[in-house]
Amino acid sequence: MAKPTITTLSLCVALLFGAAACGPSLVIQNVDYAQPLESVLSPDTENQVHDQRYAIKFNISGILQEEGVSSVDEIRLIRSRAGYYFVTASGFNNVYVFETDESELKLENKIEITANGLGQPAFNQRDSHIELVDLATGNTYNLDHNGLR
């Protein structure tokens, strides 16, 4: 009784491995997703932002809710070399780091920068990190998807 069961299970496992081996296996390494300049985007009445140049469109309502504000004039968006999107805006306390998935941006990290809100934030692409500058205060922060460096 036990023998046929073990045989059946072994066959199933073998089939699964076989199926996995037949799927796509090509992986390209060292992709540079870096967006050389940040995008400054104005949300529409539905809180949709659309970056025509880098071809991305999403809704920022969730971010606004998370930040506890009802609206912003514009948001700053930049993509790191690793492919993470960094989002912030004037008045935000945090920088939101998203990774991409199928029709999704998933929050990877929420980096707290200040408790008083950023004055005039601006992202700059740097070789190994994203630089966040608050032009109002002159403070500079070096970020990656893990947080402040």
Partner: protein, 406 residues
């Protein structure tokens, strides 16, 4: 020196701007490219609108400053303006600058031409104004000196001379305008038209001033006589002829926005001048003929004047053919003398130029005058008397012969 100072100032300002920009430690790459775009557009506008060498010097300094300020950010700018590049933008500015230099050179040549033209027009206007003032002054003196006939006559003589001088001067101006604008090519015409807005005065305005003063002169009652009005008519004919030849070009060149209206305005002023002259001319001619014992039928235009002359000659010739007496012959001699020594000799050219009588109309009167002269010649009785004497002698001889035979 002024140019050097301006260059030095522009360069220093540009360097200061660069220096101040680099002092700022915190920067936004996004803002840098935004600033570059704004400054680039500003320099493009500057170079495209530069109309003088001084402005081009400023543009050259601005291009250098832009390049110096942003060359270290060229990679950021390249990313922002892809597929264009920072170096392409700077090259584009330098190319525009080179094109601007060529344009400015043309503009400055044109400005020079316009300055010369305006100086010339100013000179004409000053001279015309001076002559008008002299004529007005003389007119005032004539009005004041009515008590002294000899003085008034002298002033009228002077007044007449001044008007003739003015006519001569205006004719010279018109001659110069015609020489210059009759053959004006369309490119030059367009160039001058572009610069007209910068001109405070232009030939059309000068012509309008002249016409207004001519009309004013004709309207005044200043002891002028038939020859003066005939001369005015001739001057009008000359003016109208020149305007017909160059009016369209002048209007297209100096009134490019409304050439048709500008032409019509001058044409209307010419018509007003002619009406003012005619208003005096026909009465003055009637008076002149009357004063010489020639009573012409009434006339109020060039054609009716010609009819009046023909009618007078025809009627007089008919009378002469019927009577052949000495009195009629005297009428002929009087008309012939006035016609040949005054009308034809002194006014002939003016009458033709003023479109009062044509050469063929004058010739037609001449032909009639010859016929009239032949018809008016008084017939002699000498032949008849000789015939009677001869007849008497023959009869006498016959009677004598018959008496001797018997």
């Amino acid at each position: 020196m002024k140019k050097l100072l301006r260059t030095a100032f522009s360069t220093m300002a540009a360097l200061l701007f660069v220096a101040s920009a680099t002092v700022v430690a915190q920067q936004s790459d996004f803002q840098i490219q935004q600033d570059f775009r704004a400054q680039y557009n500003e320099v493009v506008n500057q170079v495209d609108t530069a109309v003088s060498t001084d402005e081009l010097v400023e543009v050259a300094a601005a291009i250098d400053a832009l390049e110096a300020e942003y060359s270290e950010y060229s990679s950021i700018i390249n990313a922002a303006i892809y597929p264009d590049t920072f170096s392409n933008r700077i090259s584009d500015l330098r190319n525009r600058y080179a094109a601007g230099q060529a344009n400015v050179s043309t503009i400055e040549q044109l400005n020079e031409r316009i300055r010369d033209l305006m100086a010339e027009i100013d000179e004409f206007r000053d001279r015309v104004t001076q002559m008008d003032e002299e004529i007005a002054d003389l007119k005032e003196q004539i009005d004041r000196s009515s008590a002294n006939e000899r003085r008034q006559a002298a002033l009228i003589r002077q007044y007449r001379q001044n008007i003739e001088q003015r006519d001569e001067f205006v004719s010279n101006v018109l001659e110069q305008l015609m020489t210059r604008y009759q053959e004006l090519d369309s490119a030059t015409q367009a160039e001058i038209a572009d610069a007209v807005e910068r001109m405070s005065d232009n030939p059309i305005e000068l012509l309008k001033t002249m016409l207004a003063e001519y009309t004013n002169l004709a309207d005044q009652n200043s002891g002028l006589e038939a020859p003066d009005f005939v001369r005015m008519r001739a001057q009008h004919g000359y003016f109208a002829d020149i305007w017909n030849r160059i009016g369209e070009r002048l209007a297209n060149t100096f009134a490019p926005d409304n050439p048709v209206e500008a032409r019509q305005e001058v044409t209307d002023m010419l018509a007003a001048w002619q009406a003012s002259v005619d208003n005096k001319l026909w009465n003055a001619l009637t008076t002149a003929f009357n004063q010489n014992g020639i009573e012409l039928p009434p006339f109020t235009s060039a054609s009716t004047f010609n009819n009046a002359l023909n009618s007078y000659v025809d009627n007089a010739m008919e009378v002469s053919m019927e009577s052949n007496n000495e009195e009629d012959y005297e009428v002929f001699r009087n008309f012939s003398n006035y016609w040949n020594t005054t009308v034809k000799a002194q006014w002939g050219e003016l009458l033709v130029n003023g479109n009062i009588l044509s050469n063929s109309q004058i010739a037609a009167i001449d032909v009639k005058l010859t016929q009239w002269g032949e018809a008016a010649q008084p017939t002699s009785n000498l032949m008849f008397i000789l015939f009677l004497i001869s007849l008497a002698v023959i009869i006498g001889l016959v009677v004598l012969l018959v008496t001797k035979k018997s």
